[in-house]
């Protein structure tokens, strides 16, 4: 586990690595909460943003899988549709 980090001698990871990871995470989040001088975004707020974003992504995936399962049920009756899609994807 500790051998995978690039600069892990011993168990402690440097502070700047954590800041780098935090900024990378922040860049992934939708820019809705980012203000000018984003260095003032505290880590707690960032983690809260991350948690809510992951939850919303989960919800979206659930909705999409609902939709896909409905579509699959209706698609059972026309198998030519599946053939077309399969030929498009290959």
């Amino acid at each position: 586990m500790s051998g995978r980090r690039s600069s892990s001698r011993g168990n402690s990871v440097s502070e700047e690595e954590i800041n780098e990871l935090i900024s990378k995470l922040q860049s992934l989040l939708p820019a809705s909460a980012r203000r000018r001088g984003s260095s003032q975004a505290s880590t707690t707020k960032l983690l809260k943003e991350t948690c809510s974003y992951i939850k919303s992504l989960h919800r979206e995936v659930d909705d999409l899988s609902d939709r896909l399962s409905d579509l699959m049920a209706t698609m059972d009756h026309n198998s030519p549709g599946a053939e077309i899609i399969r030929s498009l994807l290959r």
């Binding site: 954590i18 974003y53 992504l57 896909l68 026309n78 053939e83 899609i85």
Partner: protein, 211 residues
């Protein structure tokens, strides 16, 4: 069955690819880049895996034999599994998704033979254990948020903070790709089924969906 043989062929190709690509990736730096989830290639790989998994789901549960919420749960699990396979085992959450499913299947099979040996995951409730000693500003609020985050990302509830951050960023990028791929697939399916029903002839209409 043709579908199972093709899926095992895909798995074998995946395993070979994982072996060769595991040799050429250097150990320095992060092992799972979040940016790789945004390439078109990854999107295509995931879409085809997702489609195969959905076909298996459809073949496994014939029409109206399973209730709608159960079927969507099957779809969700298949999509997560396909996402975990697309990660090629380089991230902890993907391994946790695949391992938990395998463990659950094995436990269901061996439930009668011996007692389930799943150890209760007792992680200490003290907030200081997740931080390395000597690091300031680890207030309980931060540790609480970190714990919530660890519960959201599969398999990462015991990770130290920096590893948790790295896993979370990769997981977010992967989830975004999953949403994009599933949306696109839903669009294609809905347009195909709507055009097929609109033609009302039932014969194969070879009109490609609008790109």
């Amino acid at each position: 069955m043709a579908s199972t043989s093709s899926s095992t062929a895909v798995d074998e190709r995946e395993r070979k690819r994982k072996r060769t690509s595991g040799g050429e990736s250097p150990a320095a730096g992060a092992e799972a880049q979040p940016s790789k989830w945004q390439t078109r290639r990854e999107h295509e790989i995931y879409s085809s895996k997702l489609f195969e998994a959905l076909r298996l789901v459809r073949a496994g549960s014939p029409a109206s034999s399973t209730t709608t919420p159960a079927r969507s749960r099957l779809v969700r699990e298949a999509a997560d599994r396909a996402l975990a396979v697309a990660a090629r085992g380089r991230s902890r959450w993907s391994r946790a998704i695949l391992a938990s499913r395998r463990r659950r299947l094995q436990a269901a099979h061996r439930a009668r033979l011996r007692a389930p040996t799943v150890p209760p995951s007792r992680h200490p409730s003290a907030a200081g254990t997740s931080a390395a000693p000597g690091k300031a500003s680890k207030t309980p609020a931060l540790a609480r948020k970190a714990k919530v985050l660890g519960r959201l990302v599969p398999g990462c509830h015991k990770l130290p903070f920096p590893a948790l951050l790295s896993e979370a960023s990769d997981y977010i990028a992967a989830l975004e790709m999953q949403v994009r791929a599933m949306t696109a697939l839903a669009e294609v399916l809905s347009s195909v089924s709507s055009s097929a029903s609109a033609s009302a002839s039932g014969s194969s209409s070879s009109s490609p969906p609008p790109a």
